[in-house]
Symmetry: C2
Subunit: 391 residues, 2 copies
C-alpha cells in the first residue's frame, strides 16, 4: 500500500484528528491509537450504538490498533516516549500547548526522534489571540464565515449538518503529513505540521472570499438560487425534486429545449441571463409547471442525455443504495468480531496499484497493547503494569 | 519546500482540478498549467473581475506556470507528450475516457513515462452507470445526500453556498497524489489516482452516514439545532448572534452558570438532557432572554473564559479582519504585475520548516510557454508554432 511502513502514533480523539489518522491508515500506514484507561476515545460510546457497538466509532477507527496508556503516569509517559522513538509521525489534537505541558515539547521530541513529523489538528491554530479558546465544529462554522453564506436568504445563518470543519481540518492535516513525508525523503528531517478547524473551512470559501476581497462587500445568503445564473436550482417533478445546474447559455438552451420551453429564449423577458435573473420567479414557475408533468426518473434521464448537469436530490438511504455509489464501492461491510457485519462509508481516494482497503476492523480498547509494546521490547510484566484493565 | 522538485502537468480547469494543483503548487511543486489558445481556463473571466482581473482566478492559480498548447493539433499533442516524459504527476478533470480519446490512454502514458502518477478528478468516478453524465458541484451536493441534511427542518433541501464538492474532491486528489509519491519512493512505480465530486462529499457524512447504516433510517434536516443536545445553537445578543456549543453536561453547566441560569438544572423540566430536549423551546426562550441583555463581545468573552465553546457568527468581512485570522496569515496580499496587490486566502496547512509560500502570482495566459518548452529542448521557431497568439 502507498503508506506501508509508515508508523503513526495517534493521540487524537473524537473526530478531526481521528479522521486524519483514518486517511493515513486506509492508505496503509501503521496507526497506533493511544487511548486512556477509562473508556478510551469518547466516540466509543457516541453516535448510533447498535447492540453495544458505536457504528460511528467503527467507521472512523477501522485499520487502527489500540494501545492503552495512562499518560498521567510516569510509566505511561515513558511508554509513549518509547513509541515515539520508533515512529514516523505523531498526531495530536490537544489544545495548543497541552502536549508540551505533558512533557513533550519540541526539544523533548527532537531528542527522542529528530525525524518525527509532529502534527497538530486544533481549533484556531497554535498562535494568535484565540489560541487558548476551546473549539468545536459548530463554532468553527460560525467563525469561518461559512454560516453567514449557508442557508435561505430570509432565514438565520445556518450550519452545515455534517461536522465539516472537523473533517476538512483532518483531511488537510493528512495532506500535510504526507507532504512532509515526501519532503523528509529528500532532507531526512521531520517537522511540525498543523491544520485548524477554522482555517480549513475559511480556505473553502472559494469565489465567495474572492468576491469579498475584490469588492469589500461580504456575500449574502442566496439559498439554492445561483447568485448570478437563472434558471438553476431545485425543480419539482411529479414525485420529488430534481437539481439542475445549467451554468452557461449552452446548458440553459439544452435544459429549456428538453422542457419544450426553448421558445421563451426569444421573448424579451428571458432572452439573456440578466433578464432571466430579473424575471426569475416567473421563469421558475414556467419551468416547474413543465417539470411537474413527469417523474424524477424521467427528467434525470432526458436532461442528462441532453448533456445538462442534473441529478436527484437524494437522502442517505437513496445515496447508499444508488447503483453508482455501489459501483464505486462507497459502502463497505466490515466484520466486527463479536458484533457481526458493520456497514460504513468506503474510500474517497482510489489508487490503482495500491488501493485503500480494510486490513482490520476498529480495535477493542487496548486490543493491541501487548502486541505493540512487546514489539518494542516490553516484557509481559511491564505491559501488565501499563494497562492492568485491558484484554 | 516539501514538494520541491516534483513536476506536475496540469490539464485541469474551473475549480476541482485547479484546487488540487494549487495545493501541490503551494507546497512547492512545479505546476505547469496547460491552457487552450482561445482564452485558457474559463475562470480567467469568471468570479469577481476587478480592473480586468478575476480575483477568483488569481487566488486559485498562484504559484503555477501557464503554457498554451492546442491539444486538438498534432503539434500540441506532441508537446504534451514531451512534457509528460519529464513529469512526476499529471492531473486532469475531463470526463472519464476523454483523455484516452485524445490519445493518452494508459498504454500510451506507460510508454511515455512508467513512473507517472496519473490523476483524475471527476464527477462520479471512472466506472459505474453514471460515468458519462456531466457533473457539477450543485449536482454532487444533491446526489451525495448533503442537501438532504442541510438546511432548516421545515424548508427545502439546501445546498451549501461554497462549492464544497469541488474543493473536497480537489483536496482528496492532492492527498492521493502525495500518498502515491510516497509509495513511488519505495516501489519506483507510478499509478492512477482518482477522486470524485460525489464520492468525496459522501465521505463527509460522518455520523449521519453511521446513523443511517446502523438504523436504516435516513437522518432528517435539523437546522441549527443539535439533533440530541440542548441548549445548543445560535442565541441573540443585544447586537448580533452568538454560537454556543455545550456538547456535554459539563459545558451546559458552565454555559448556564455564566447566564445565571444554573438554578434551572434543578427544576424537573430541565434536569437532564432528555428533558431539556423535550422543553427546548422554553429553554431557548430563557437563554435568549438572558443573552439579549448584553453584547456579542461580552458573551464571547465570558462564555469562553468559562471554558465553553462559543463564537461570533461572522460574515466574510468580519472573518478577514479578525485578529486571529490575521495572526494565522489567512489573508495574503500578492503583487499581480500590471494590476497591483490582490488579496486572497492564505494557507490552511502550516509546515514549520518548509512553509507554504507564494513564489509567484497567477500567470498570464501562456506566460511560460517559451520558458517551459525551451527547457525541454524546443527552439524558438517550434515554440512560436505551438502558441502563435501568446506573449
Amino acid at each position: 500500500m502507498a503508506l506501508t511502513g509508515i508508523r503513526v502514533v495517534d493521540l487524537t480523539r473524537i473526530l478531526a484528528g481521528p479522521f486524519c489518522t483514518l486517511l493515513l491508515a486506509d492508505m496503509g500506514a501503521d496507526v497506533i491509537k493511544i487511548e486512556t484507561p477509562k473508556g478510551g476515545d469518547p466516540v466509543r460510546v457516541q453516535g448510533t450504538i447498535k447492540d453495544g457497538l458505536s457504528w460511528y466509532f467503527a467507521q472512523f477507527n477501522r485499520n487502527k490498533k489500540s494501545v492503552v496508556l495512562d499518560l498521567y503516569s510516569d510509566e505511561g509517559k515513558q511508554a509513549l516516549a518509547d513509541l515515539l522513538r520508533t515512529a514516523d509521525v505523531v498526531v495530536e489534537n490537544y489544545r495548543p500547548g497541552v502536549f508540551a505541558k505533558m512533557g513533550f515539547d519540541q526539544a523533548k521530541l527532537d531528542e527522542l526522534n529528530p525525524n518525527l513529523i509532529v502534527t497538530s489538528v486544533n481549533g484556531y491554530g497554535s498562535t494568535g489571540p484565540y489560541v487558548d479558546r476551546p473549539s468545536f465544529d459548530f463554532i468553527a462554522q460560525a467563525m469561518s464565515g461559512f454560516m453567514s453564506v449557508n442557508g435561505p436568504p430570509d432565514g438565520d445563518p445556518m450550519r452545515a449538518a455534517p461536522p465539516l470543519s472537523d473533517l476538512i481540518a483532518g483531511l488537510y492535516a493528512a495532506f500535510g503529513v504526507v507532504s512532509a513525508l515526501v519532503g523528509r525523503g529528500r532532507t531526512g528531517r521531520g517537522q511540525r505540521v498543523e491544520s485548524s478547524l477554522t482555517g480549513g473551512l475559511i480556505s473553502m470559501m472559494a469565489y465567495l472570499s474572492a468576491q469579498y476581497f475584490a469588492t469589500g462587500e461580504p456575500p449574502a445568503r442566496t439559498g439554492n438560487n445561483h447568485p448570478i445564473v437563472a434558471p438553476y436550482g431545485l425543480f419539482h417533478a411529479s414525485d420529488g425534486m430534481v437539481a439542475v445546474a445549467p451554468s452557461n447559455n449552452v446548458f440553459v438552451e439544452r435544459f429549456l429545449g428538453v422542457l419544450g420551453l426553448e421558445y421563451i429564449l426569444s421573448e424579451p423577458d428571458f432572452s439573456d441571463n440578466a433578464k432571466r435573473m430579473a424575471n426569475r420567479d416567473r421563469l421558475n414557475a414556467l419551468v416547474n409547471e413543465k417539470t411537474s408533468e413527469q417523474t424524477v426518473d424521467h427528467w434525470i434521464d432526458v436532461i442528462n442525455k441532453a448533456g445538462c448537469p442534473c441529478g436527484r436530490v437524494m437522502d442517505l438511504g437513496e445515496v447508499f443504495t444508488d447503483p453508482q455509489v455501489l459501483a464505486q464501492e462507497m459502502v463497505l461491510e466490515v466484520e466486527q468480531p463479536g458484533y457481526g457485519p458493520v456497514r460504513m462509508t468506503g474510500f474517497p481516494v482510489k489508487l490503482s496499484d495500491t488501493p485503500c482497503r480494510v486490513r482490520h476492523p476498529a480495535p477493542r480498547l487496548g486490543e493491541h497493547t501487548a502486541e505493540v509494546m512487546s514489539e518494542i521490547g516490553y516484557d509481559a510484566d511491564r505491559v501488565a503494569r501499563l494497562a492492568p484493565a485491558n484484554d
